[in-house]
Symmetry: C2
Subunit: 346 residues, 2 copies
DNA sequence: CACGATGTCGGGAACGATTGCGTAAAAAAA
DNA sequence: TTTTTTTACGCAATCGTTCCCGACATCGTG
């Protein structure tokens, strides 16, 4: 059972015209007499004719749709970014096909395959934590599929990239903790493959140095799936708390790391910020409702999505391959709340 | 600039064969000799041939993809449901195209149009709060597009429906508040157009009656956009708090209503549950991190998505139109936490 | 009256893939 | 050796749409 659409042929047959004439009438060609045009237009409206975009895609080799690959739509940052992407795409007549990798490499490859084979005109991508091999991306890019990277960018392709100033964001967060009297600042880091991990770690280290705090590698805990798996955060926290020199503050450098860190503290009756200050790199929109309210570095996710979509569509619609690529870096903003309140001497 | 895919013609030309032979070889037809098959298969792999699904869709009038229309992917309930949908769809070889209406009627119509014109094979739908006219849905359904409704169902089409027991969920929530000593229980209701609103309101009222509490219509506050717009919650809460007989408990009957209710209380220094108990109809996964931790009625969103996808695919793949439709009702589960703690006499 | 210009429209190929049908050549049966 | 069957492949239509051409009228002009 499938649903039968009205085609241009149906109109032609009903009106005793040829398909070419109908097609031209619908496209308002000058070659068609006003009477015929009206006839066709009216009949088309009457039977609710819709051009078949699949046929158009086949002919024009473009589909006016763009693909999005993110790790997880349930993540505030990504859902906000997607809203930004959609706002631009819709206004320019493009549709958006969203896929999620759930931090799984195979799924990411599958999604890219699906999107490319569905003849999307371009793709906006933030790689999964597991992605170490970029062949599935470079292959498509080399075959001229326009791709824009955002958030978690890769160096393997030369294209537009939209990121936040991860270094400064992490620096600000860490510096804020240090200035508030915390000296043993741990970091929950994301997968080591990710660009954002490297940048945020660098910011973290620089802030420590500038505050005359020695970087202790034991305070750096990597979570290969960015905290999507609770157990990896659990384990990292366990290790931190088993140390003789327990940290007095934690910088959770991703959305899921932040919430699962909070969860751990709650479950283990660790008081924030008395026992342990926490600041997150997170776009959660419930930060002020948490207990305690959560200090965060927040990314302009919506804006990032907007810009990425604009760049992609520019790329798609340009006549010849672009050679100049933009590397947009937006500022992250620090929001100080209770979870990182100044340390009180015991 | 567009990216040129390898076609079956390229293979045919390169190997001195006809397109039919190549096509059959790739499909492993018995009519093709093993040598030719190997030749084609190997060459195809070598140049990384991928069949063009657009061409296939045009020919077969099916795309092996299903559409999803929800109000907002940033909503925990929907993102969980989408994960459930995807888990089934992927395993059965279907792809999922997600769209969001953002509680906007025009966007919902647009999305449905887009999906149907993209030749999706079927659609899973939860209508927006604004949707009062269902023509865009019934039209497609009447033209034989398989549709499965979930969560916010409509009566206008006779098809499979997957919902939670909204009546019992709301009853349990309200009953729990009543049993905990609250007698002036208000409800933040969703748009009056929605099925879930009617069901949840009915459960709320029945629970009040069973606890010998008179239903007070002034305690029932409808938010036409389900709390997606903060101001409408703000206004509803203002009105509740301006009453002489202020309510002592609130049942927020949707995700966004719940969080925005909490936000209001926080902003107005209203202590939960001392000044006002709160229970939500919500799938938030941070409930235990909130301050105070939040009591909720939770829906089996993932499972709902799974079932909806299974029913839809069954519908798509059935030879003749189905006449027997299922009306799946899953239980909602009550989670009691701090925000609805037993009332202490002042 | 003849001829080009203009205005309208139809025929048919093309996009990529599948598939029913036709047909060579090779193999098997007579 | 002749006939029949099998094997292995090609031709062409099809899906819905666009667009290049060609083909008519009709009109104006010399």
């Amino acid at each position: 059972m499938k649903f039968e659409a009205v085609t241009i042929k149906d109109i032609a047959k009903a009106l005793g015209l040829s398909t070419s004439t109908v097609s031209r009438a619908l496209r308002d060609s000058y070659e068609i007499s006003p009477e015929t045009k009206n006839l066709v237009l009216e009949y088309a409206k009457q039977i609710n004719y819709r051009p078949n975009p699949i046929a158009l895609s086949l002919k024009e080799k473009r589909s006016r749709s763009i693909g999005v690959v993110v790790s997880e739509i349930a993540n505030s940052f990504f859902s906000q970014a997607i809203n930004g992407i959609e706002s631009i795409a819709y206004s320019k007549g493009y549709h958006v096909i969203i896929t999620q990798s759930l931090e799984n490499y195979e799924r990411e490859v599958m999604n890219m395959q699906f999107l490319s084979s569905r003849s999307i005109d371009g793709c906006i991508l933030s790689v999964s934590t597991e992605t170490e091999d970029f062949a599935h991306i470079t292959d498509l890019y080399d075959r001229n599929l326009p791709i824009v990277c955002f958030d978690r960018i890769i160096e393997n392709i030369d294209t537009h990239k939209v990121i936040v100033d991860n270094f400064k964001g992490a620096y600000d967060a860490t510096d804020h903790l240090a200035k508030n009297g915390f000296k043993k600042i741990a970091i929950l880091a994301n997968s080591e493959f990710l660009s954002i991990t490297k940048e945020r770690l660098a910011g973290y280290k620089k802030a420590l140095e500038d505050n005359n705090i020695k970087v202790d590698e034991k305070y750096i805990k990597a979570c290969p799936h960015g905290g999507m798996i609770y157990e990896e955060v659990d384990e990292a926290m366990d290790e931190l708390f088993k140390m003789k020199q327990k940290p007095d503050a934690i910088f959770a450098s991703a959305d899921k790391l932040t919430t699962n860190c909070m969860r751990y503290c709650k479950a283990h009756n660790i008081n924030i910020p008395e026992d342990m200050a926490v600041i997150g790199f997170s776009n959660l929109d419930l930060t002020e409702l948490l207990s305690p309210s959560l200090s965060v570095v927040r990314q302009p996710a919506f804006e990032m999505g907007r810009i990425a979509a604009e760049l992609l569509i520019k790329m798609i619609e340009s006549k010849r391959p672009e050679t100049e690529f933009e590397n947009i870096v937006l500022p992250a903003e620090l929001f100080v709340r209770e979870s990182s309140a100044r340390k009180v001497k015991k």
